[in-house]
């Protein structure tokens, strides 16, 4: 491994580099490369924030921390992404892996379930008034209760518009597995919502 010497320029040179404000190591970013990197990454930030927020059940602060972590990794290993691979899938993969890592580290410490607050904050303007708002609330509650793997599949495909193949790569599972998570997640939501309607109707009947 004769590369070590190349990675360790002599200190005198570093001082000189520092004095003129140039990065001492890893200076592979000139202005154009930097703008290029920004223009390839930034269009995906809104989607990454949305995905992170939904993964973390509405914890916006935590979501932005997660996105920041993901982006720091992305810029520090920009040269490692596959040249032909799409940046979007790569970013979602990093974010999802960071999420799993973090979740594993924190164990099952109770996460504040902010999704319902999201529901309340975001949805009062939904047309149709009270009933629609309640339905949305129910749906988000059911969504928050889905197993994490089903939630992720529903989010990547139904909201982030990834293809089935892309979603499979982000989640690190075969397409068949993604399809079955998608199918089970959707059915579970439907079941929950229909049950809710039944319960609601039953309550109405019992009042009469």
């Amino acid at each position: 491994m004769g590369t070590a010497a190349a990675m360790m320029p002599v200190p005198t040179r570093t001082l000189a580099a520092d004095e003129i404000g140039q990065p001492a190591v890893g200076c592979r970013c000139d202005g154009a490369a930097m703008r290029n990197q920004a223009s390839l990454i930034e269009p995906h930030i809104p989607g990454l924030r949305r995905f992170a927020c939904a993964l973390l059940r509405g914890d916006r602060q935590g979501a932005d921390d997660l996105v920041q972590d993901c982006l720091e990794r992305a810029v520090s290993r920009w040269h490692l992404r596959r040249a032909e691979g799409d940046v979007r899938g790569w970013l979602y993969t990093i974010l999802y892996n960071r999420f799993l890592n973090e979740k594993h580290r924190q164990g099952r410490r109770g996460v504040p379930d902010a999704l319902l607050e999201v529901a309340e904050a975001e949805l009062p303007g939904v047309d149709g008034g009270q009933d629609r708002a309640l339905e949305h609330r129910d749906l988000l509650r059911a969504f928050a209760a889905l197993p994490e793997e089903q939630r992720s599949a529903l989010l990547l495909i139904g909201i982030e518009d990834l293809s089935y193949g892309e979603a499979a790569r982000v989640l690190g599972v075969p397409i068949g597995t993604v399809m079955s998570r998608l199918s089970r997640g959707r059915e579970r939501l439907r079941h929950y919502m229909n049950d809710g309607v039944d319960r609601h109707n039953a309550e109405l009947r019992s009042v009469k």
């Binding site: 491994m1 360790m8 920004a38 930030i45 939904a54 520090s76 749906l139 229909n194």
Partner: protein, 277 residues
């Protein structure tokens, strides 16, 4: 040529509402739905839920991107960190070199290299790490027990066996990619080994054990062409081993330390080994 393609399946119906159904399937799927009103109802409910969830989360993507998530900001931060890290490494390398000289010069004054109790643990772990490296880094077919494709499982499994949550360091910054890991027997409990490889197929292993008291600085040892750098921190004993010189190992050790230690931002300054007591 058959008038109808293969039978319509659940996946086709999902693909239809996700806009991922190939056009040539469309006719078959529509015909199927027309003939199965209960499926039609079920999938229109899915489609409606899909729409509602999109609406509910749409707001999360709105609004300006905060400064801390802007790429220019992150790049500037990264450059600052690299400058700082370089300074730390340069300082550590100088100190190790000075320590080596001082230790050699003072060898008669201090007797055998200061062997405090943690020193023996360090020697055992370093020797084990080198032996494990020598055994497994040459493996072509089975270099690891669980490969990096199952990283989550790997981490969970080894964390469980070692009784502490482990972090698998990401060494991409030094050009090394995780290959996977394995569980190994050690003196009084299990040890874990993670193996990494760079673009030149050079391999590096990170060996770790739990239940190690105290915090020590980096100790370098070389045996039969394999270099190892040992340190302990937060109850873990770490040793990285590779056919590499001290500088590269130190650079890797810095990365590992920064990712595994809660106060990894601090520089790890090794003491002069030959310090007279």
């Amino acid at each position: 040529m058959t008038p109808r393609g293969r039978p319509v399946e659940e996946d086709d119906l999902h693909a239809r509402i996700d806009g991922q159904l190939p056009r040539e399937r469309s006719e078959d799927v529509e015909a199927y739905l027309a003939a199965h009103p209960e499926e039609q109802a079920r999938f229109s409910q899915y489609a409606q839920q899909r729409q509602q969830l999109r609406a509910a989360f749409a707001a999360q993507a709105d609004g300006p991107i905060p400064m801390r998530l802007r790429v220019a900001h992150l790049l500037a931060q990264q450059r600052r960190r690299q400058r700082r890290r370089f300074g730390e490494i340069a300082a550590a390398v100088c100190l190790i070199a000075l320590g080596g000289i001082a230790g050699w010069a003072g060898r008669d004054l201090t007797g055998p290299a200061t062997s405090s109790p943690p020193g023996s643990v360090a020697r055992v772990i370093t020797a084990d790490a080198i032996a494990a490296h020598r055994t497994f880094s040459v493996e072509v077919r089975h270099p690891v027990e669980v490969d990096s494709g199952q990283e989550v499982h790997l981490v969970q499994w080894l964390s469980k066996r070692l009784g502490r949550p482990l972090i698998v360091p990401d060494l991409a910054a030094a050009g090394f990619r995780l290959m996977g890991g394995r569980l190994l027997p050690a003196e009084d409990g299990p040890a874990a080994q993670f193996m990494y490889e760079n673009g030149n197929s050079e391999r590096l292993t990170l060996y770790l054990r739990t239940g190690i008291g105290g915090e020590t600085a980096f100790r370098f040892h070389e045996e039969g062409g394999i270099g190892a750098l040992y340190w302990s921190d937060e109850g873990f004993g770490y040793a990285i081993a590779a056919k590499a010189d001290r500088e590269l190992l130190l650079r890797i050790a810095e990365i590992v330390y920064q990712q595994t230690s809660p106060d990894g931002a601090k520089a790890k300054i090794p003491p002069a080994p030959g310090k007279p007591s």
